[in-house]
Symmetry: D2
């Protein structure tokens, strides 16, 4: 029996207490406000827990080091190439949970649909991303990569990628200057020019627009997965400044349902338990907003024996809440009696000081919605209130009369701050990104204009089908006669684009 100590496969993502301030991005996201993704956190900071091994004593900046991998290649900039073995194990574990990408490697390997593709990427650099990058490579692409967040890089994974020959420029704890320097190193290379962009947040796209606009002549398309990045692309498009086709993978059905409904159904419980150990049974909870996120939160809490109230502005969602068995109220009707307040609106100032003043002692307040705007946390930073940090991500805010409010993650996203994102969900996003790259790269001239596109329904269905084997799920096939009767192609697409 051999005992080896290795960290677990799933990344624990946490906000750090310090805030990344330099990135001034539009926070108004209009109707897409409930569409969230891991990449939305590109504007947020991560805790240092994202790294597996400790190299705290090494204070030298990676930019000041000369490192080479075992084959003598030095075209990368990371924390420590020696951590490569450790990172490789992480990647292998992630591979087990990303069967769709592995299947894609197998199925598409023969034809190399990305042969000739030169992909420049800017995403979180994690084991899951590594599985994506190595899949792109297996499909024929060359890749250069930077991090889309100064805190989120898993140094060991970056090392494994560098050792594997990828030109990676990223480490945990970059400065703002480092951040843009890394992006620049990806694109500003002699003798190599990208023809595809894979972006998360839009910083890479922004940089090329600003510094190397001519590069777009050779670029076949942009794949963007974050709400923020997609918003920027639509703005460019509206302004007539988008000069290549772009694929919005954020709004694919599969991603939406998983990131919002299914994922939040589990993470609301997880996030509340890890931070407060609260017992759900019998608790009175108000959930603000009954979109996909709210629906997931409500279903989970109801199932655990909580009594759930819902607030809504949209009468259709309101009627859905009624039919699903939730009392539809205004916040002020229940604010004095509830034990937990959860915001899922995408709106701002949903829970304001007036409501916080009226909550009962011990009330837990948290945000599952958008960014950190929903709870007016700023209004709590007044002299008469005392803040006590009782645990990581948990503050007690204490009123002069002794009443305590339990505020989680300082009003930022609970599920990103206090729970984890399962690899399976990341797998869906990564597979969608890979397919979007293949589609844009291989599309015949003229299929895509200089506009923002949703992934064709059929490819969305393909992503879903690649994940069915995980559940040992067996799809039924249409007979010719049935396909004719329904007026459908036997291979799909099976539903109109608006199907959710």
């Amino acid at each position: 029996m051999i005992l080896i100590s290795v960290p677990l496969c799933t990344m624990q993502i946490q906000f750090a207490d310090q805030k990344q301030e330099f990135s001034k991005r539009p926070s108004k996201i209009g109707r897409r406000s409930l569409s969230r993704s891991i990449s939305q956190s590109s504007t947020d900071s991560y805790s240092s827990a994202a790294s597996y091994t400790d190299s705290s004593d090494d204070e030298t900046s990676p930019r000041d080091k000369q490192q080479k991998n075992s084959k003598g290649n030095g075209d990368f900039c990371i924390k420590n190439i020696k951590q490569a073995d450790f990172g490789r194990r992480e990647i292998e574990i992630a591979e087990q949970e990303m069967p769709a990408l592995m299947a894609l490697r197998k199925r598409a390997q023969g034809e190399k649909p990305l042969a000739g593709a030169k992909v420049v990427g800017c995403t979180h650099i994690t084991a899951q991303t590594a599985v994506l990058m190595e899949t792109l490579s297996a499909l024929g692409a060359q890749c250069r990569w930077a991090a889309c967040n100064i805190y989120s890089t898993q140094n060991e994974v970056a090392a494994a990628l560098a050792e594997g020959g990828f030109s990676v420029f990223a480490w945990k704890g970059e400065s703002e200057d480092d951040f843009w320097w890394c992006i620049d190193r990806c694109v500003n290379v002699e003798g190599w020019q990208p023809n595809m962009i894979l972006d998360d947040g839009g910083d890479l796209t922004h940089w090329i627009y600003k510094k190397y606009p001519n590069m777009f002549k050779k670029i076949k398309g942009i794949v963007e997965e974050s709400v923020t990045g997609v918003h920027r692309l639509y703005q460019l498009s509206k302004a007539g400044k988008l000069c290549v086709p772009a694929m919005n993978v954020n709004d694919s059905v599969t991603k939406q349902k998983f990131d919002n409904l299914y994922c939040c159904r589990e993470s609301i419980l997880d996030g509340l338990k890890r931070t407060t150990d609260v017992m759900f049974g019998g608790k009175q909870v108000v959930v603000c907003g009954y979109g996909e996120v709210g629906k997931g939160c409500c279903a989970a809490l109801k199932a655990m024996g909580s009594i759930v109230y819902v607030t809504e502005i949209d009468p259709i969602c309101a009627l859905q809440a009624c039919m699903d068995g939730f009392r539809l109220v205004k916040l002020n009707e229940v604010i004095r009696q509830v034990d937990i307040v959860i915001t899922c609106t995408g709106n701002k100032n949903v829970v304001v000081r007036e409501y916080l003043d009226r909550m009962k002692n011990g009330c837990i307040v948290c945000n599952m919605g958008h960014s950190n705007t929903e709870i007016d946390v700023a209004s709590l930073r007044t002299p008469e209130l005392t803040w006590e940090r009782v645990r990581s991500q948990v503050d007690h805010v204490i009123w002069p009369d002794g009443k305590r409010i339990v505020l989680l993650a300082e009003g930022r996203l609970l599920n990103l701050s206090c729970s984890t994102v399962p690899t399976f969900v990341l797998s869906i996003t990564a597979t969608t990104q890979a397919l979007a790259l293949i589609e844009l790269y291989n599309a015949p001239e003229g299929r895509y204009k200089q506009d923002v596109y949703l992934l064709p329904k059929k490819m969305d269905e393909y992503v879903a089908s690649l994940h069915l084997p995980t559940f040992d799920a067996h799809l039924t096939e249409l007979s010719d006669e049935q396909a004719k009767y329904l007026g459908l192609n036997k291979n799909g697409p099976f539903k109109p684009n608006y199907y959710r």
Copy 2:
């Protein structure tokens, strides 16, 4: 204490055993196949149970009678004007369950938004329709009405409408000739020409196209609520033959969710219990299709302790089934072991003889999907099989070895045949129809072309909002600041059109 015997407010709709054959309509409905509505049954026959009072001895055809209401008006043709009081009570009871129409009467009465409107209608003539017609009248419209189905007319309600001054031409048990004669009497009048059409199934529209095409010059629009009728309109539009704007109320979000998800969640249990008294706990069930109808059926049966398997052709719906906790199988994998088979696909020949042969003794087979195509019932009409009618809508089909299959409603729609449609659901449809008429009638020149339109999102939201008071539900309003932040109008619409 006074005891009076009065039938209940909700209509029990049942198919008759005989089949209405004259109406040759396209049964292929493509992608909209899962969208069903009460009006879809316009092509089907109804049982005589739909009438409350018995007038069996009166065999005279209404066409041969001369009747006048108490004010001396005789511009109608119905079974028996003396049943008016009885029908009026029915209408009053229905009014209690249709608060949105009553609210509409109140709110819009001042301005009479349908003043000058001459509406010709062809729908089921029931207490719920009467509430709609009297609402249209209160809003300023004149109405002439025929039945869209030869069996579904509630004679007492027709009498009450005639007594109230409506020109109604309908009775239960019309012949095909009667059917078209009634429609003709609605439109072919001296000194009155319709300017709005409210249709359910498209027969009225068809008749005008064929007989009085010139009438369309004065017609401002068509409101159509059935899948079949909408399909016909889209075909006309494609062929460039649609000469007025048409409003598709079948595909509004509210109607879809209620008719399919929420309604089927309840009617699957109701239909199975009323016909078979089966105990759900522990039963193994396979549900074919995981669209809205399938989702509703699965949720209800799971909640009652059944073990549910799902079949699907669409990988996205398949993945949803997995995440919702259902084993995704091919029908042949479970057909030998299940106790109940339910079809919800909109497809044809989903359950074929081969599967029926392999089912276990006592297996219940029924259809919640589209029309009567899903189960290949014809394949069971072979000499070696014995059919026993064991109860209304319930047949035992017996194999030579004694095995019995319990076939419900001969494979037609279980929820229309064997359970009832709550007035509340009909209220949503009727309200949507009224609003669609108002919108088309008042739309400024040019807003609508000669095409088929979905109800504007905002009106869909309005229908929903009118039904919230039923649940004592309180909607939250956006502040100016929040509306600005979200880029929304404070009064909606709040979601993109594709929101479900």
Copy 3:
């Protein structure tokens, strides 16, 4: 293809509007108040719908007829021996749903554990009872049988039993005099004396006590399944007058869970739908009492999207309601706002006139608890209120201001009045009765004293195990090592007696 019309296998039990008055029995049942069974209705009347064929023209009393079966045997008194074929088919259909009795026949047939037993029975005479009687006969017993209710006999089934050689004395619509005459004919026979009693309600036992007390010398025991009958036995026992052992099968775990929790979970939905067609989604419901029946009702309604409030007197059940996600209230807190009121307390005057006065228009009121005491229906029979019978079992009670209350089954048990009891549930009871007879008949001298006993835990477990094959359920067996570790016999019993 052969089409034969045969009624369905499951009996629809309905109260008649007229009330059986002659049977003056104690209605106070103390703590056992929530334990109900089909046999509890022995004191209630049944609708004439319980009979399949109509023999209305034959007005001759069966007591005045001379009938013989095909073998020339005339020791029975029933309506019409010619209906035997029809009844036989019913029995055959019931056999399919009572696998445990059929298994018992097979397993025990070799040894004839009831050889020599002379069983006199007094129960509802239905297809399910016939399966029980024929099982007892197969096990070696001789049987004479009367009906425990003057309305509930299925005449065709009685005919089939008589044709099969059973001495049956029962028909639908007996007078009180007929009732006791039939019982007397069962026991007062030359050359035959019973040694076992199977009773439902205690009337048979009562008759023997009163008329033939000496018979008890040969009687080995009484098996009683109703709440009322068991109550009488405990009273006899307390008074020291019980002269043989008696087996209380009403309180076995399996029966309790099925009759109360699982059966009510389904029948609350069924009963409400069949009578009112109400839509459950979004409805506000108050359930009075959170015992097994209340738990079943609450779970079902919550699952269908109702918002459920609970009232309780017992703090432990109250805490369970809280943990299961229901607001615990006093009735007056919610009475104005709820759409449905359901009583499940076993108590009396839970819903009194004061509450009925304050309910909102259209509120549905029904009883799932005990007898007809829970709702104070008498208080509604005052001159200022108008009653309208709108459907069988449905009354509108109308206040002077027009407010209507929808009262179901005049406050009697909804699930017995307005829904059906699945054969599967009756199968559990019948199997328990058969096992109780076997146990008492074969028990060694001294095992049972002159007292009331619960079925030994092990036999309760055996009943359960006989029903598992229905669900294709596979039980795990303890290894010798595990049994030793747990200190259990490998064949059970596995739990203490108080396990629920």
Copy 4:
């Protein structure tokens, strides 16, 4: 705004990797095997995480230190009296979640029902215990206390108790010798002799039996809350050696439902998420055992979208599983296909090597049942298998072909090892203990013999009632007339003792 860093109120309990070996106790617990409590872990070790502050550098044994509290009292032995302030804050936070004890203090304070009581206690020493001890003191009792586990003491809380005047002898990380020394210091005092025992695990009782048997002359009773301790008492009673009455608080209804059904419903999700971040949706899970613990686990996982199979040995529980919608299987039928295996049987060797060999790659295996016997972990410690510790409490066991099993907590209790016990649950236990002490101390001579008693039903109900205000739950009171009808006292008890 003041920021203070304070740990959270709820204790995170974790097993240490080293095992407490000295305590040789019977592990066979017979039928009570599914009854678990926090105190069951008295035989297990705790992780050092249970302490809030770090005093690692102080290696002096508390036995070698002389400490006095601020009032000069030195009759205690703890780690560090200076941590008292910190511990006091913990106690105050716990008080907020233990409203029943606080209410008890208030209600009973006037009469001091424990005046004269000298309680010697041996339990986990945590903030929750401190609230109990201070309540006992407020009710008039004197207390001396030791720890029932060498790892579980929260040093800061012990300090606060010592500072408050309690004679506490406990610290985290006691040796076996320390353990018994501490217990001895509690009882072996000049001029003070206990008259009540509050024990958790039976060690204190054992010590007095062995060393100071004469003490029992003055002792009025023993209150014991652990399965193990209760088992020992029943053995003493059987052997005729129990010389005082003992109260078994482990088997009270309230405690059972909370510790098992409700608590496990939440902790199964929490424990799995914290250790593996697994997504529940679509996962196939087998739960071994369908007692209260199994029922809780199954309900939670089903609600989260898992497909759950159940194994059972008891046909009654098996039938319940069927009716609740779970496929009842033998483990070998599903072992190849499941993603998660959970044991809840109380049995041993339920998951043996043979099954582990056949599990699929990545299968998660954990135990929610009894002790660490259910999974045969020893069988995995063979040379061909590699163990990787991937996270605290998580091992990958790797087969030669690369297959990995994810083993949680090395097969010990998942909910104790990897999740937390909410204060609310501990509140119920502590309240029950307090009431049991009051009952035994005040019982009139002769009410209790030298036997083991369950808490009277009425007191069980009282514990429940004290916890209802937490849920703002309002109990209904019986009217005199109703109480008479039901034959109940208006103040309870309301149910027979066997009610669950």
